[in-house]
Amino acid sequence: MTTRNRPLSPHLQIYRLPLLALMSITHRITGVGLVVGLLVLAWWLCAAAGGAASFNDAQALLGSFIGRLFLFGWSVALFFHMGHGVRHLLWDCGWGFELDKAYLSARVALVATVVLTLLAWII
């Protein structure tokens, strides 16, 4: 590269990410996080296939404080990823690229995350 000494534009350490950028990177982070949930689901199904003893052990671990904290985080990540995923589907349909609509859909996705998480854990 011959451009090494050219001035750099301000990057992640300088910018305060606007909401839309935060939504975007959070979508990616929750997506990777949900893979951890997938691995836990695989472990849980394996434990269930192993019989009553291993299933009960797995249930006890998931029912512990740490287990429930993990399940809560998993549900938040799932609902966020789902809500933001719907925004991606709308964009793929050509809807919502204008700034005001992008902010509107971001807020709707955030509210949906909170509402669905509360519904999943309270009702």
Binding site: L38, L45, A49, G51, A52, N56, A120
Partner: protein, 126 residues
């Protein structure tokens, strides 16, 4: 002046070199996973407090095992597509990138087979 069309010049320049089929598969699995994830959350909530016999009886219903297998397979497919995108964006060493892209697909295949067999074993096993 180049005689190549703008799309012709742009093709193959992204970090993944191609991507329409990838994106389309992501969309199809995402659309399927919206109802399936909601079904999964509601189902798992209903399972809280069940003992092993109760869980086996629940999974033993054909529709539950079928929906669970469908959910698991679509999740794995969607996850492999998403992870591939993340790897293509952030892993710049070609050797590591290809190793990772191969690894996630093989682990995905392993999970697909293992989780399907586990579900079937709970559903119809002795």
């Amino acid at each position: 002046m180049s005689l190549r069309s703008p799309i012709g010049r742009a093709r193959g320049l992204g970090s993944a070199k191609q991507g329409l089929g990838h994106h389309w598969a992501t969309i199809v699995t995402a659309v399927g996973l919206i109802p399936l994830s909601l079904w999964f959350v509601i189902s798992v909530k209903g399972l809280v407090g069940l003992d092993y016999a109760g869980f086996k009886a629940w999974m033993g219903q054909g529709s539950h095992a079928a929906l669970m297998i469908l959910t698991v397979l679509l999740v794995i497919w969607h996850a492999v597509l998403g992870l591939a995108m993340v790897i293509e964006d952030y892993v710049h060493c070609e050797a590591k990138k290809f190793a990772a892209l191969i690894a996630i697909r093989l682990v995905g295949a392993l999970l697909a087979v293992g989780m399907t067999v586990s579900i079937l074993k709970v559903a119809v096993g002795g």
